[in-house]
């Protein structure tokens, strides 16, 4: 076979290979009910989360993210993949809001908590009252501290 032809065939083999492999091994970000960040799983239906939160008397943490935000990747890599963070987060009902989407209640939540750039976290009571807001990136320690503060405020609110 002639070299040029061989090279061209190799080109197409590579091209199809890259195309197929990458599309099928791309990490799933969200499906019908959840979106996935690091090793954590977040709800996307806010009403369901609200119900669950008031049923179980737990605060809600709302995470505003986008597919292209580099600090969200840092969250995935350094914060959500940490087991201590995961354990702490289990005390909350987790909801993730894709800032690029206006589906369901996303639009309203963005407005209500004035979230207009990623990443941001808002921790709220099941009634929607804001406890703590984390604007931008917080590293593992700072993030844990914010969670603890939110829990303290939530408990203080309960006692009154």
């Amino acid at each position: 076979m002639k070299p040029r032809k061989t090279l061209t065939i190799a080109f197409f083999v590579f091209l199809l290979g890259i195309g197929y492999l990458s599309m099928h091994s791309a990490p799933v970000l969200s499906d019908d009910n959840y979106s996935y960040h690091g090793e954590t799983q977040w709800r996307t239906d806010f009403s369901e989360a609200e119900e669950l939160a008031s049923e179980q008397d737990r605060p809600i943490v709302v995470y505003f993210w986008t597919t292209w935000c580099t600090y969200c990747e840092d969250y995935n890599q350094y914060v959500y993949s940490d087991s201590e963070v995961q354990a702490e987060l289990d005390d909350f009902v987790k909801v993730a809001v894709n800032l690029d989407s206006d589906e369901g209640e996303f639009g309203r939540l963005k407005q209500q908590y004035n979230a207009n750039y990623p990443p941001q976290h808002v921790i709220i009571t099941p009634e929607g009252e804001q406890l703590v807001k984390i604007s931008g990136y917080a590293d593992r320690e700072a993030f844990l501290e914010y969670l603890a503060e939110a829990e303290r405020e939530y408990d203080a609110g309960d006692d009154q």
Binding site: R4, T8, A10, G19, S22, A26, P27, N116, Y117
Partner: protein
């Protein structure tokens, strides 16, 4: 209809006529009216530039009767950023693009004329593209009236203040990046037209177009390549200084969208070199030429049509549909037609004899490698959209995807470059030894080299085995590959440059050397910049406007310490002109009873003051607009206003409230003031800038000092933009981010290695490209001035 829309409509009609004449002249091979075409395209270019000037003028004087101006600027912005507003949204960008393309079409017509039938088709296509752009503008005009934003507003209504410019665009790099990019895209129209005309002509049995245009196509491609390179670099430098964008390159959709045409253009520039009218690349080179512009349109469509609604896609509206249609049109002409021709033909003429090691084969491999790199970026941009649309499952494309696939291709390209250059000088036998040595070193470095921190991606996001292998590749492997490439390039330059007799040829060789060395340095610096960037933080408390704690703060885990020297907090606009927030008495009179019951701020000179029992009434400018100042407790109280002073008052405006006055503004002592001291709440704060002057020390030695902080835009959703302090060092940049709130400054000190190498690489690329563009003895711009264009191009080069 306003001036701007009249200009656009005129340009549309004129262009339609020019395109019509050209199409008719081509189809019926009849030159009637053809003499008018240059006049028409010239007129269209003038009119479109006029429209652009008109829009720019409206921005400079902040004419808010134009909705687009109102949406994209505000009075407090300095002149440079008011001009930037022109291309902050889709409409203005397309006007800029259209005007530049019209200039290109006109210039091409003047330089080239219409010597043969093909040239009519080529010019018909370029003029058709401009017509389409202007048609898009007629559908969604940058000159739309403000009343499209306020459906119920009365005629003559003009807001006093604009919405402001997207804060991310308030940056010097962003003021020049878009025009440079659109110049490049406009220049790409010509290669597209020639490539598309070539295949249309072949299908009609009219013979090749490409051969006659080869020289000019090379020039068009090179000059757009130069501009596109500058545009990509400017975009990268912008994102480097804008915090949160992930440094110089983060594979953001918009970044990828401009990289795709750049990569493919690079491939095309290489392919066109080896075009032979009856031999190699007789299909591929024209096809690639036509495809570059189609790719630029495709990526622009994906980004601008709202498929990716990142904050980065500055504009998002109905123009998307027109873009999608344009995408289909250019896709058919630039991709489908050439492909169809290729399928119907027997393929490329046999040119090689089965020998692998020939320059032609290397070049072909280089073109294919660039093709693959283009595909990686293009696919990364496209497949999440495709998969999302088909299955509803959202998948992520992170930088991992682009980095992992691009890295081996780039390493292969470096080895190929080294081999090609070495082969040219040393011949087959010795160059093979070189390849064996450096190739082995590259592979060895990729898998055997130092610790895990050298890995391309220690924890790829998925379990996929392929990603696992690619991710474990050590970046050290870039060193032998880059060294090989630089050695090869230098060796060839040393052998060739002194041997050339012709000055032009010598410049060309030097330029090509600079481009290749620049490219190697670029890909060498990028991975290290990301992998070995370090950062750490420090906090300083007690930072207030009264006093600042200037003690040294250690940056944990580093040799750095920082001192906060000063703190400043500023609000903008400062001392704004009353026109920018209040109505004049003339404006009140013009807008009439429609103002009744609304809360307004008015300004004017006091001409009469009358004390009443319940209120003090004040006449402004001797007009029928009065201000009534009422005390809280209903008495007239003590209002110290004298005739002759300038007054600003805010309150509910009542029409025909009292006799002898048309308009009465019901104010209180708290809501009146002077232009130097306007009442609270009348002038909204647009920008709140907090900054600290700080000094950074390493081992006690001063490294850099300057101001860093944040700008907050309360009127624009509270968006925050950081102003960073960057100290450009020879080996590493010191990059300081500071955030100030509630008396605490939190500072992050980053070290970014090899930025200077990257800057040098860009300079080499741009300089090399310019030299080749101008001095190439065969197709350089200089050849145009010496002898006429047609004489250099008319003869297809049958041999090299």
């Amino acid at each position: 209809m306003n001036v701007g829309n009249v200009l656009l409509a005129t340009a549309f009609v004129v262009l339609l006529a020019a395109t019509g004449i050209l199409v008719r002249a081509y189809l019926s091979d009849d030159d009637r009216y053809l003499g008018h075409v240059t006049t028409l395209t010239g007129a269209a270019a003038v009119v479109l530039v006029g429209a652009l000037v008109q829009l720019t003028y409206q921005f400079v004087v902040t004419d808010y009767s134009n909705a687009y101006v109102w949406n994209n600027t505000a009075d407090y912005l300095p002149l440079l950023y008011r001009v930037t507003g022109v291309y902050a949204g889709n409409e203005g960008s397309i006007l800029l693009w259209a005007a530049l393309t019209a200039l290109v079409a006109f210039a091409a017509g003047v330089v080239r004329g219409f010597p043969d039938r093909h040239s009519k088709l080529v010019h018909a296509i370029t003029s058709g593209v401009v017509t389409y752009f202007v048609g898009m503008l007629l559908l969604q005009s940058p000159f739309a009236s403000i009343r499209t934003e306020f459906a119920n507003a009365p005629p003559g209504f003009v807001p006093t203040s604009g919405q402001g410019l997207n804060p991310l665009l308030v940056d010097p790099y962003m003021a020049i990046h878009p025009p440079v990019m659109f110049v490049s895209y406009a220049l790409l129209t010509m290669p597209f037209a020639i490539g598309a005309a070539h295949f249309v002509s072949l299908f009609r049995g009219d013979g090749s177009v490409f051969a006659t245009w080869r020289g000019s196509i090379t020039r068009w491609l090179r000059v757009s390549w130069l501009f596109l390179t500058v545009a990509v670099a400017l975009g990268g430098f912008w994102s480097y200084t804008v915090l949160g964008w992930g440094g110089i390159w983060a594979w953001d959709p918009v970044e990828t969208a401009i990289l795709v045409p750049w990569l493919f253009l690079t491939a095309t520039v290489h392919a066109v070199v080896r075009y032979r009218p009856n031999g190699e690349y007789r299909i591929l080179a024209p096809a690639m030429t036509a495809t570059v512009f189609a790719l630029a349109i495709y990526t622009t469509s994906i980004v601008r049509s709202g498929t990716f609604r990142s904050v980065h896609s500055f504009a998002d509206d109905g123009i998307g549909i027109s873009f999608l249609v344009l995408m289909v049109l250019t896709g058919v002409l630039g991709v489908v037609v050439p492909l169809a021709y290729w399928f119907l033909q027997d393929g490329e003429a046999a040119s090689s004899d089965g020998t692998w090691l020939t320059r032609d084969n290397f070049l072909h491999a280089a073109v294919l490698l660039f093709g693959l790199l283009t595909f990686v970026s293009l696919w990364g941009l496209s497949f999440p959209v495709l998969r999302g649309a088909v299955t509803g499952v959202e998948v992520s494309v992170e930088s991992h995807y682009f980095n992992l696939w691009s890295y081996p291709l780039v390493a292969a390209a470096l080895l190929l470059l080294g081999f090609y250059m070495d082969f040219d000088v040393e011949g087959r036998r010795r160059s093979r030894i070189g390849l064996a040595v450096f190739g082995t070193a590259t592979v060895a470095a990729a898998f055997v080299a130092p610790s895990e921190i050298w890995q391309l991606s220690p924890s790829p996001p998925t379990e996929s085995a392929v990603y696992g292998v690619l991710g474990s590749v050590r970046v050290l492997s870039i060193l032998p590959a880059a060294a090989y490439a630089i050695l090869g390039v230098t060796k060839r330059a040393l052998a060739r440059v002194p041997a050339t007799a012709d000055r032009g040829a010598m410049f060309k060789e030097t330029g090509i050397t600079a481009i290749h060395v620049g490219a190697v340095l670029l890909v060498l610096s990028l991975p290290f910049m990301y992998m070995f960037a370090g950062q750490a933080s420090a906090m300083a408390t007690g930072v207030t406007s009264e006093s600042v704690d200037t003690s040294y703060q250690d940056v944990a885990g580093t040799d750095y310490s920082v001192r906060v020297l000063d703190y400043s907090s500023k609000e903008f606009p400062q001392d704004p002109d009353p026109e920018s927030y209040a109505l004049s008495t003339d404006q009140v009179a013009a807008r009439g009873p429609s103002l009744n019951g609304t809360v307004q701020a008015v300004y004017g000179t006091v001409t009469d003051v009358r004390e009443g029992s319940q209120a003090t009434v004040i006449q402004l400018d001797g007009s029928r607009t009065w201000v009534g100042v009422v005390q809280r407790n209903g008495t007239s109280g003590d209002v110290s206003v004298q005739a002759g002073q300038d007054l600003i008052a805010r309150g509910r405006l009542m029409w025909n409230f009292v006799p002898n006055a048309d308009a009465t503004v019901l104010a209180s002592p708290q809501t009146i003031g002077s232009p130097t001291n306007p009442p609270e709440g009348v002038v909204p704060t647009r920008v709140r800038a907090d900054g600290v002057s700080l000094a950074v020390y390493e081992d006690g030695e001063l490294v850099t000092s300057g101001v860093a902080g944040q700008r907050e835009y309360p009127q624009q959703g509270g968006l925050e933009v950081r102003d960073v302090l960057v100290d450009r060092g020879l080996v590493t940049d010191t990059y300081v981010i500071a955030g100030v709130s509630d008396g605490t400054a939190s500072m992050t000190v980053k070290q970014v290695p090899l930025m200077s190498l990257l800057r040098l690489s860009i300079v080499l690329l741009v300089a090399g490209m310019s030299v080749v563009l101008v001095f190439d003895p065969e197709h350089g711009v200089r050849t145009l001035t010496g002898s006429s264009a047609s004489s250099t191009d008319a003869e297809p080069e049958a041999t090299d």
